[in-house]
């Protein structure tokens, strides 16, 4: 397993060009082209803002609710799109696995990375919003943003490897997954804040790895640090690091599982 894992860096040229191809191919033929990467998160945000401004009343204790929502929604979109796409990626890429010598793990990795690029392209929109709302940012917390990002990357890769490998054997997974992701979304403090969740369900929320990522992003970007914690890390940092350790574990487990099932792909796809 480690032998294969160490070979991965050798394929970075291939991963790079496949990610580039993925991005190019996605918008080929559409009028706005590449701008969709910016426009999509913006439209998503508009929808949620509309719902919570005109249909349902936004929580009163969160001012600038749209901005709050955006802080959690943007990373969630990366996460959920990666998982949904990677569950199918070995099957749609079956031609490569069956006809070319091709390290199969590249396919889910490319899926996660191209969604990462979309996430990064959404960041300028987020920054514009932060400036527009004049959000108070604590500079000492900002270095934690890339840390959270790397942890999310590992976590997403771990899930993507597991899902892509298992879907080859159980096609049912990709149908179940859509609903699981919807449930998962509502079980994560994205449209509501952690402190608004009822006391008794908080232990369950803590079991959800994405809870800690969402809270961290919100603390860095949205909630101004209180005077006592000013100059320090975001209040959730211990949880985040624990999740980091867990994500490394999940990634290794995912890679192990993928590696064990590797030989079956060419025959089962």
């Amino acid at each position: 397993m480690f032998e294969n894992l160490l070979k991965l860096p050798r394929y970075r040229g291939l991963i790079q060009s496949l990610v580039a191809r993925e991005l190019k191919a996605r918008y080929r033929g559409s009028v706005l082209g590449f701008f969709w990467s910016f426009v999509n998160p913006l439209l998503l945000l508009l929808v949620y803002t509309f719902v919570f401004a005109y249909v349902m009343p936004p929580p009163r204790d969160i001012p600038n609710y749209a901005l709050f929502l955006f802080c959690g929604l943007l990373p969630w979109t990366w996460f959920s799109a990666s998982l949904l796409e990677s569950s199918n990626v070995l099957i749609t890429g079956g031609n490569l696995i069956k006809k070319v010598m091709f390290p199969a793990e590249i396919l889910p990795i490319v899926t996660v990375l191209s969604n990462l690029v979309h996430f990064l392209l959404g960041l300028p929109i987020l920054i514009l919003f932060l400036i527009y709302f004049d959000a108070p940012i604590e500079p000492a917390e900002l270095p934690w943003f890339p840390i959270a990002l790397v942890i999310q990357l590992l976590l997403t890769l771990g899930f993507a490897l597991i899902l892509s490998a298992l879907t080859v054997h159980f096609r049912d997974l990709k149908d179940i997954l859509g609903n699981v992701m919807t449930l998962w979304f509502f079980a994560t403090p994205i449209i509501y804040a952690w402190f608004n969740a009822p006391e008794r369900i908080r232990p369950y929320l803590n079991l959800n790895p994405f809870t800690h990522l969402a809270i961290t992003y919100q603390q860095i970007l949205f909630f101004p640090a209180d005077a006592a914690a000013a100059g320090g890390p975001p209040g959730h940092w211990k949880w985040l690091l624990a999740l980091g350790a867990g994500s490394v574990g999940l990634f290794l487990f995912g890679y192990f599982l993928f590696d064990r099932l590797r030989d079956s792909f060419a025959e089962e796809v």
Binding site: L96, V100, M101, H169, S264
Partner: protein
């Protein structure tokens, strides 16, 4: 030293059974094998105990019937699948022409696809850039290289795939029946490219149904039959043995078809012009058996062009009779009457037939081109009233080493004045 070495390789696939997903997943996870937990009747052996080696720099052709395991061998050598048991060793960089353009993305341009495909096949970006012009020129796509691949014709698509794969500069080239990718000109170019590979000391493993190509082009041949090696070594010898075997099984197949045709042929209306096969007539004189025999007097359905053939008719007259004509007709697969004759046309006048006898139509040399032919045999009155008419009930095949076209193959020779030089392949 062998560039490709297979030792006692067995490859077992599982037959597709929907309910066995958990079993296969479990054994794949725990034992690293897909089929461990399956019963023998749920699996299918594609290769059984196959061992062979291809020395570096040699070209080896793999032949065999459909489903004999040729493509599985190629996939194992390419490393796309792993053997169930046994070992596969390959020295050097491999490029597999298994499915051309397998990695192409339809939405992006040919140019971008060349780069990605090249990188997939193991080149670096810089290496692709250096060979790019050569690739495009080889594929003859200079005018279309910036158009999205989805607008390409299938020939253009294949040509581009072939051009990229061949420019990877592999040490070992695996080719799976891809020479049919383009028009004659392109096929020729591919062969030239293979020839160049050979000269440069590369190893080629070629899976093909073109026996002619194996004989002309390969240094050795491997004949697979039902997942086992039936023969290997000198291409001419192996191809010869393979052809003999194919002939035998065709023979069995034709005999079976003929048996069924005769069993099905109920007495039909008195219409001699009907096109479909059948048997009709009053049976006052009956044709009881029809046998085709070769030069050695053996019953056969396969004949070499130019060799003798004899048609033996067993006949029986229930009453002595004086008004009868024997006739035969040969039709090709398109239904064209290649030849027809009868005793009356050849100025033989009937005198008497009594009891049982045999009529032989001996052909000194069967000068027909390769193909499948059907036979009419009949005995009738001079005025056409049928005693026993067998229409298209017998099938034989003519084989030829050369691939001329038409129906008739006259005995001939090519002669040239000294200024015109040709060489025999």
């Amino acid at each position: 030293m062998n560039a490709i070495e297979l030792t006692n390789v067995t490859k077992v696939y599982r037959k597709y059974a929907r309910r066995k997903q958990f079993a296969t997943l479990k054994s794949a996870l725990l034992k690293g094998s897909l089929i461990q937990d399956l019963q023998p009747e749920e699996t299918f052996p594609a290769l059984q105990g196959v061992s062979f080696g291809v020395p570096a720099g040699r070209t080896c052709g793999v032949i065999g019937r459909n489903g004999s395991g040729k493509s599985t061998v190629l996939k194992l050598v390419a490393g796309i699948t792993k053997p169930t048991t046994g070992t596969v060793k390959v020295e050097g960089r491999i490029s597999a022409l298994i499915e051309l353009g397998a990695g192409f993305h339809p939405e992006i341009s040919g140019r971008e696809n060349v780069f990605i495909n090249g990188i997939m096949l193991g080149l670096t970006k810089r290496e692709v850039a250096r060979r790019f012009d050569e690739i495009v020129e080889f594929a003859e796509l200079q005018d279309f290289i910036d158009a999205p691949v989805k607008t390409y014709s299938s020939g253009m698509y294949m040509r581009l795939g072939f051009a990229v794969a061949i420019h990877v500069d592999p040490d070992v080239l695996l080719v799976d029946e891809v020479l049919a990718v383009g028009d004659a000109g392109f096929t020729h170019k591919c062969l030239d490219k293979f020839g160049e590979f050979k000269r440069r000391g590369k190893t080629i493993l070629l899976v093909t149904h073109s026996l002619d190509l194996v004989e002309r082009f390969c240094d050795e041949a491997l004949w697979l039959d039902n997942g086992r090696v039936r023969g290997s070594g000198d291409p001419r010898r192996v191809v010869g043995a393979y052809l003999t075997d194919v002939g035998k099984s065709e023979e069995r197949e034709l005999a079976r078809v003929e048996e069924r045709a005769q069993a099905d042929s109920a007495p039909a209306a008195d219409d001699m012009r009907r096109q479909d096969e059948g048997r009709w007539g009053s049976r006052e004189i009956e044709i009881t058996s029809v046998l085709l025999k070769d030069a050695q007097g053996q019953t056969s359905h396969i004949f070499q062009s130019g060799e003798p053939m004899a048609i033996h008719l067993g006949v029986r007259a229930h009453e002595p009779n004086t008004d009868f004509v024997f006739g035969i007709g040969v039709y090709n697969a398109e239904g064209v009457n290649c030849y027809g004759t009868n005793t009356h046309l050849e100025d033989l006048t009937a005198q008497e037939i009594r009891g049982e006898g045999e009529v032989t139509f001996a052909i000194e040399a069967l000068d027909l081109v390769e193909g499948t032919y059907k036979l009419d045999v009949a005995v009738h009155k001079l005025d056409g009233y049928p005693y026993d008419y067998h229409r298209l009930l017998y099938t034989f095949r003519v084989k030829s080493r050369s691939k001329e076209v038409g129906i008739y193959r006259p005995r001939h020779a090519w002669l040239f004045t000294p200024g015109i030089k040709l060489k025999k392949n």
